[in-house]
């Protein structure tokens, strides 16, 4: 099993009602698996999550990126800095 800390921002944080979420996934797990688990536990994210990019330990990732226990995954909705 691998333990993941997901941090959430902006509208994603509000929809989940939490600024961080701890998830435990079967080993091995990818970012795609994480998103599926997130959606199951937080269905309110369903409208926004398809627009979010996940960052693994502060690097943008894709659905195939492998996760390891203890990593931090950022849930990044479309950005609007500037």
């Amino acid at each position: 099993m691998i333990d993941i800390n997901v941090v959430l921002f902006a509208r994603a944080r509000e929809l989940a009602g939490a600024d961080s979420i701890k998830l435990t996934l079967d080993d091995p797990a990818t970012v795609g698996d994480l998103k599926a688990a997130l959606l199951q536990q937080y269905p309110d994210l369903s409208t926004l999550l398809p627009h979010c990019t996940m960052a693994v330990d502060h690097e943008y990732s894709d659905d195939d990126t492998a996760l390891s226990s203890g990593c931090e995954v950022g849930c990044i909705p479309p950005v609007s800095g500037g």
Binding site: F9, A10, R11, L48, H58, P77, V79
Partner: protein, 141 residues
């Protein structure tokens, strides 16, 4: 130099940061909170960031800009928290021996920052409505 701060941006300091006797061109862009967007009156913008990652992405941007263009000074400051109308959320200052380079680099930095750096703004209207700005997503509408 890059900085993410909750304090008002000191634009004079940002410009002084990039001053260089070998540069003829100094350019500074300030992005400020605008009152009107169409018929919506903004009272303030409320910025949030993923701090460690935003700093990392800003450093990457600056490194890439220096690889692409002959820049000497380079300063990017983003304010987070509440930014009232008329105040700056972003300062990008660059210096280069050549003017075209300064303009190209500054535009690229701002364009790319707006696409990749994990910072978000929430609009607060005069009526007290709030809306996160997530381009391409319609979740708040």
């Amino acid at each position: 130099m890059i900085q993410i701060t909750r304090e008002p941006i000191d634009s004079t300091a940002a410009l002084q940061q990039v001053a260089d006797p070998d540069c003829g061109a100094n350019l500074m862009f300030l992005g400020t909170t605008r009152r009107w967007t169409g018929e919506t009156e903004t009272l303030e913008l409320n910025y949030e960031c993923y701090q460690e990652m935003a700093e990392k992405e800003l450093h990457k941007l600056c490194t890439e800009a220096r690889q692409r263009w002959d820049l000497r000074g380079l300063c990017v400051v983003h304010r987070i928290g509440n930014v009232p109308v008329g105040q700056a959320s972003l300062a990008v200052a660059v210096s280069s021996p050549h003017r075209g380079v300064a303009f190209d680099a500054a535009q690229w930095l701002i364009d790319t920052l707006k696409q990749v750096v994990p910072i978000w703004k929430q609009e607060v209207t005069r009526q007290g409505e709030t809306r996160w700005v997530h381009p391409g997503s319609e979740v708040n509408r």
